[in-house]
């Protein structure tokens, strides 16, 4: 039996079919690369747009990630101030402090007794003269509690405050949570915003790739027609376009990754200087290996999806069927 009969007809072995399939995939891949190299400027522009579109949400994600790491190391922000009742004497205050020290959720305690409080207040407020006129010290003793770092993040802060408030010696238990709460809410808002931005930019990538592929389909109209006339299947015709989308997406996400690395390098020194001013040894975190893979993988997938959409829409209308 000659070659024509085996390939044109029905009787071909499974391994031969798989071989043909692999060969054609390799051909389509190389062909798409060739097409891209024939139009380097256009390909580069598409890749650059994809790169920038992907680097924005990824960059915001990094920013948030770093912000969260900062706030996590800022357990000091969530200090609890215990205003003790006026009648509590110094001895009592110390005993209370020792007792609280045993509490699992409390890290360190600073005691400001009534005397200290008064001196401090005199210094800071400038009401020294007026206070001297009083015969009793109007200020209560204060305990500054530093909760362990996981208390806030795990949401047990409220509970701790309540249990402290219920102690007989305590007048007011105040959590410095107002601004901490605000900060966390702001971060949440940003998280939501980054999520929406990512969704929008993902759609943008789909549209960009879709449009690039659409233009490619139209500019290669004649070629597609000829291919169809000489017996090309739809998958044969689609393949180079799908590869092209995949390659654009892949290169775009590599570019996004590169942009992020460069921006982080540029930001590193100023951030170090800034955190140095806060006596912190905080360092900017870049994308981890997994995160990089997710970025590149999703870029490639978006490229593939965009070209798939374009191919479904535009390839079908080219005659002959």
């Amino acid at each position: 039996m000659n070659k024509r009969a085996t390939i044109g007809g029905q009787s071909i072995g499974v391994t031969r079919v798989i071989k043909i399939w692999l060969i054609q995939h390799a051909q389509a891949f190389v062909f798409s690369l060739g097409q891209m190299s024939k139009n380097p400027m256009g390909s580069f522009l598409t890749i650059a747009v994809i790169g920038i579109s992907l680097s924005l949400p990824a960059g915001f994600y990094l920013l948030l990630d770093n912000a969260q790491r900062i706030t996590a190391s800022w357990s000091g922000a969530a200090q609890i101030t215990l205003f003790l009742k006026l009648e509590t004497d110094d001895q009592h205050v110390h005993r209370l402090s020792e007792k609280l020290q045993q509490h699992v959720d409390i890290d360190t305690i600073v005691i400001i007794d009534r005397h200290q409080a008064l001196t401090e207040f005199k210094q800071i407020s400038g009401f020294g003269e007026a206070l001297a006129a009083l015969d009793t010290n109007p200020l209560p003793a204060v305990l500054l509690l530093q909760p362990t770092s996981n208390v806030i993040s795990s949401g047990r802060g409220e509970q701790l405050i309540k249990s402290l408030h219920d102690m007989p010696e305590v007048d007011i238990a105040q959590f410095d949570r107002q601004w901490a709460k605000r900060l966390f809410t702001i971060i949440e808002v940003f998280q939501r915003a980054v999520f929406m931005l990512s969704a929008l930019l993902a759609i943008a990538v789909l549209l960009i790739v879709g449009n690039t592929i659409r233009l490619a389909i139209y500019s290669r109209h004649v070629e597609i027609e000829i291919n169809k006339l000489f017996g090309a299947t739809n998958s044969f015709i689609q393949r180079p376009f799908l590869y092209s989308g995949l390659i654009h997406g892949f290169c775009g996400s590599i570019m996004a990754w590169f942009l992020l690395v460069v921006s982080l390098l540029l930001l590193e020194a100023p951030v170090m200087r800034l955190t140095g001013l806060y006596y912190s040894n905080f360092r900017l975190a870049g994308l981890s290996g997994n995160e990089s893979l997710i970025l590149i993988g999703s870029g490639a997938l978006l490229g593939l999806a965009g070209s798939w959409l374009a191919v479904q829409r535009h390839l079908k209308v080219i005659e002959p069927v």
Partner: protein, 225 residues
């Protein structure tokens, strides 16, 4: 090879391109389809290659009823047909070699096999030395020959040529027609649409004349001037 039984082809506008056409072309034959512009010559070829669909009647090509060739079967059906065009339709972004290789690449041949067959095909049309040039730099006659090489490289059972000599001078046209004859002699069924009556008559092959979509005359091989 080709049998038309009461075939109609009606456009959506209501115009009939072919009206009740009955036709038979035997395997291994060579025939010309002629008639004025708009008589349905191209439509006839396009229906055989499934570029257009007939609306009524039965067509059997290469043993297959065209009504049953749909969807995924269309590409496989077309792989047994070679097609050439008046405007060549070569791809100018690649070499002559790559143009001719196209049907083989589509069918999934190995590179070595492609190389061998493309060169053999180009040799037959006398353009082996031009395999690395771009079609744009060839003359119109040479481009038509590249188109023919492409149409026969996958050794189709049926070769359809739509106005292959439309843009050529008589000498070149004659050469092209002789080329088709050579392929016919090795067993390929050849159907050529042409309005170049003088040339056709000189070839002394069967002539199918269409007029407004109907079969006008059906002249056999024995026709003499």
């Amino acid at each position: 090879m080709i049998r038309f039984t009461d075939v109609y082809m009606r456009y959506q506008t209501g115009n009939d391109a072919l009206k009740r056409l009955n036709l038979h072309v035997e395997q291994g034959a060579m025939a010309y389809v002629t008639g004025r512009s708009g008589a349905g010559k191209s439509t006839l070829l396009q229906i055989i290659a499934l570029i257009k669909r007939h609306t009524r009647g039965q067509i059997i090509v290469n043993g297959q009823n065209l009504d049953r060739v749909t969807g995924n079967r269309i590409p496989l059906f077309r792989r047994n047909i070679g097609f050439t065009f008046q405007d060549h339709r070569l791809l100018n972004d690649r070499s002559v070699f790559d143009n001719v290789a196209l049907p083989l690449v589509i069918a999934g041949y190995r590179y070595q096999e492609i190389h061998k067959r493309v060169r053999a095909s180009l040799d037959k049309v006398g353009l082996l030395s031009r395999e690395n040039t771009r079609p744009m730099s060839l003359s119109s006659g040479e481009q038509q020959r590249v188109g023919i090489a492409r149409a026969v490289v996958h050794r189709p059972a049926l070769l359809l040529a739509d106005e292959p000599t439309g843009n050529l001078d008589p000498a070149l046209s004659w050469e092209i027609m002789k080329l088709f004859e050579r392929f016919n002699q090795v067993g390929v069924t050849v159907l050529i649409a042409s309005h170049d009556l003088d040339m056709i008559k000189k070839m002394k092959k069967r002539i199918i004349t269409l007029k407004e979509g109907c079969l006008l005359t059906h002249i056999g091989n024995t026709l003499q001037e």
